[in-house]
Symmetry: C3
Subunit: 420 residues, 3 copies
């Protein structure tokens, strides 16, 4: 087992990562300072709780969401934490640099750390698509590139499309999903080789599936916190919480029943449940603060559930085999499709509510929104493709195909195969 | 394996559930609106946190609490989420309809969602008793009926017995436990058939037991939030938190040691621990805001621990075999017995503290309290029995006895028996 | 299996624990009362959230952190909850007695329960070192003795070294780690016998490792709450949260890469990850409110990661075999080393920031700080050693060596070995 091991991580990972970490410390030394302004104790409490909720979503939710593969659960959870810890550091710096025109100290406050945690989540979403096929060195490169690309996208949204933080952030699903899929497409290379992946490695098993369900539950429970994290006005925040809650409830009921409808014998697919129950939260994200009555959120949740389960079937049958993408953790139909649905829902809602405004203005706003959505998608795909090409370089010593989805490529086991 | 499968879920579940969901969306369209009153950001924070805690209790705590069976962990967790999502939607509507005499829009605010989540929990408690013996279609019927019955009970408590939300809600344990046991009694039917349940399916196993422990821990940690969720006065809320905390601590210590005392060789029973550590929280529920000194809460916790473990032994030996109830997850001694203890403790406490009031008044109050408790019990049993009869109809195509406690009746597995 | 079972728990545990519990109830009856002062609803919210976070750390984080052993996961989680429940009760009383000179009622408020939860955590840290080698009766004695010793240490810190609650509490890591190691040294006795421990029992396995990772994640996520729990000034609290967050992020990245660097083939060790990602939070604890710029926290996190992984290698090779300590859960390098690093970092930081003050004063402060740190270490070792001797008494009927790390010594299994 050890002989044909590519010695990949040994060669480059530790030194590369330590160097990156050292550079980050130096950058923080020169360019950052804490916000010295006195804070109200109560505001601090609220801000800290919001940050805590996001950390739970990121570290626990996304960590365990992809832990259902037979031999890849350790890597799923631990690499997720690694990417989060690295991504947050770089995102705080980058957001600071991008938000000020003149070079100067980046002031760190609770809001900037919250924003950075959400930016780092883009990497965690994308990582689902390349799950089991990249080593830590590759993932750390992906963290740096994707956080930068996402920061650039947010800056463009702000400057060109005049969007606020919340709306810009809600494109994270589309951006991150297509980024991940583009990277996965590059990494998977020519198709015939794929056969070497050991089939049993990518089977979900019972106990890891329960861990995955745990991740799903944490995402489900804290998704209202995610959707309302960047909203300041109390009424908008309240609406965001409510609408997300209802959309999630309806997409759960829909996903469970449609998943059974999809199977010849009416059995439910566990991976559908993991993913589709979240689709409602994704779909309602962009417009959650605007929707003023629960039934719209419920309809969005229903559509998101249908699209997500439908997507899971169609994609696995045709699209994936044509495009050569292996999307084992369903990033495409968990985040991309409901994200697009959410984008269109936002456009329709703004057009409907702004019926009093002159037609030309409405048309212009619509075009801007469509432009922003397309830009997020294009930026995700483009930067993802470039990252994929970068990660294919021999220098990273990617794990061999036969080692894909196998914890043993990365982890020290007391006795091989005994622990399993 | 597939040949004698009753094709039950396929036939009725998806269309039935989708129809229910569509009706709910339509009802929300016609009858609900968000509370438009501006909210204080800080009040919102507190209200949202309370809702979050209840969601954690419901989705995570109850979901994993019953996940210890060898072949039923997927269903336990996922069906629990499904019932919660469906139950909350119906409970919001129902509570709204019942709380207003004139027909009109139901105004949804954070408090009504909180109340609805707690009402939906009655289903999650009852589901423990019918665990592994009902399919999703049956469970969705049970959700609708039980939330309605529980709403009716709360309305009666309010109108007839003049109880506030908190006290009425604390009858949830007794109501839900006896509802579930009555349903289970109906479903189990004539006893001899029971032998067909495969014995190994109902054995607890190590890793699912850890998941179950996780559920227990979440319930344990957030129980003070549950008991204080409906209290508005800060001092009452504080007392509720304290007393619940102490009662839980004492019942944990008591349950662990008494469980060892109960075994011939002094070994501890894991299922005792899962259940009995919560008994303190249940027992202190009704009176948690009134108790003004910790030792009373501690004594209640001690008694609850003793009753719960004692009940587990006595019930499994005699009562269950006589009544023909199979109570694998211990709903009877986890919720019903400590709930009854809590009801009596409340009565004793009010009598003791109201010694200054004229005797007749005290007696009247006592009678009212006993009446309310008996009504909760009777209503639970009665409506549970009717629901059980309803669920026995052939139309729901319940899983065959041999498929009880078996995930494979409901879930699509990649390769049968490999994942286990 | 049952024949050579020492009948230990049966004989002493239940009656001993019930007696302790009864004494506690009586003590609470005579000596405690709730704080009757009216509370602001919003302050209550903040105080309750802080308590909740600490309970999550204690019950969930520490409970699952040590659950990775093949045959000891039930005991790890359930005994942890037992010790927490018992420890909190005793700590509330003891803290109350020690904080008042004149005998009188101990007033219980949310702050005192918070303090008691943190004091009880000292037992949970120490328990990691004696994991799998003590029965519940022994652990309950350890709870009572260690909480008392820790309370005495805090009192001495306050009276002699003039320290506040926060700084005194941050010596918990050093105190508890050396207490645990001293107890473990006494319990392990003469070395040759150790061979009887079944090697396979102390191997980590995959699914328990995921549970352990879950515990790690909860500790990681809520560590900022731990470090800021006793700070009152909003700005100090904010700094504590930030610095802990950064130190944890950097120690995660460092630990992952250095763990790979340490292995011949670049593979990562899961137990390193469990422990070393927390080292940053421990190291930054003492000085987290003083550090005013993120890079210092990041450097501390980096050093803590290095020390923790380096310590894991050096200790397992030389120190442990020389001293005869079996430190399976890495208490020494997870808590003791980073705790010492944090103590020295605090001293260096105060010396550097107080450069304006006269030299003699600085030197005196430095001596006081070194004295307090040494006292915590000495007190931990001394009281731990005495406790170890106490626990070796035949009266407790400790589990035989061959039963170490084996759940079957304590738990009732449906069918032996089937569940595993």
């Amino acid at each position: 087992m050890g002989s044909n091991y590519p010695r990949n991580v040994r060669c480059c990972l530790p030194w590369w990562v330590l160097a990156v970490e050292a550079v980050l410390v130096v950058l923080f030394f020169f360019f950052t300072s804490y916000d010295p302004s006195p804070k109200d104790q109560k505001m601090l409490l609220g801000a800290y709780q919001a940050l805590q909720d996001l950390t739970i979503i990121a570290a626990l939710g996304f960590g365990f969401l992809t832990s259902y593969l037979r031999r890849h659960s350790w890597s799923s959870v631990a690499f997720n934490l690694f990417m989060l810890a690295l991504g947050v550091q770089w995102a705080v710096l980058l957001d600071g640099f991008l938000s000020q025109l003149l070079p100067g100290k980046v002031v760190i406050n609770l809001f900037s750390v919250r924003l950075a945690t959400m930016s780092a989540m883009s990497v965690l979403i994308s990582a689902g698509a390349v799950l089991g096929r990249a080593n830590l060195a590759q993932l750390s490169v992906m963290v740096l590139v994707e956080v930068t690309a996402f920061g650039t996208m947010k800056l463009t949204h702000k400057e060109l499309f005049n969007m606020d933080d919340h709306r810009s952030m809600m494109h994270i699903h589309v951006f991150a999903a297509y980024f991940g899929l583009a990277v996965a497409r590059c990494l998977s290379g020519s198709l015939p080789k794929e056969k070497k992946v050991q089939a049993e490695n990518i089977e979900p098993v019972t106990h890891p599936s329960l861990f995955s369900m745990l991740g799903t539950l944490f995402l489900w429970m804290f998704w209202p916190s995610f959707n309302s994290a960047l909203l300041d006005i109390a009424n908008e925040k309240k609406n965001a919480v409510f609408n997300t809650y209802y959309a999630l409830a309806v997409s759960t009921v829909t996903a469970t029943s449609v998943s059974a409808l999809n199977h010849r014998e009416g059995k439910i697919n566990m991976i559908d449940i993991h993913n589709a129950v979240l689709a409602g939260g994704v779909a309602v994200g962009a417009s959650c603060h605007l929707i003023s009555t629960p039934w719209i959120a419920m309809v969005l949740g229903l559509l998101a559930g249908l699209i997500s389960i439908g997507g899971a079937r169609c994609l696995s049958m045709c699209l994936n085999s044509v495009l050569g993408i292996q999307d084992h953790s369903g990033v495409h139909y968990t985040f991309a499709f409901p994200g697009l649905l959410g984008g269109f829902a936002y456009i329709v809602l703004t057009v409907l509510t702004s019926s009093g405004i002159a037609g030309g203005m409405t048309g212009y706003m619509m075009l801007m929104d469509i432009g922003a959505l397309s830009f997020a998608m294009a930026m995700g795909m483009g930067s993802g493709f470039l990252t994929g090409l970068l990660l294919k370089l021999k220098i990273w010593r990617a794990p061999q195909m036969v080692k894909h989805f196998d914890d043993q490529a990365f982890w020290e086991f007391p006795h091989l195969a005994v622990g399993y």
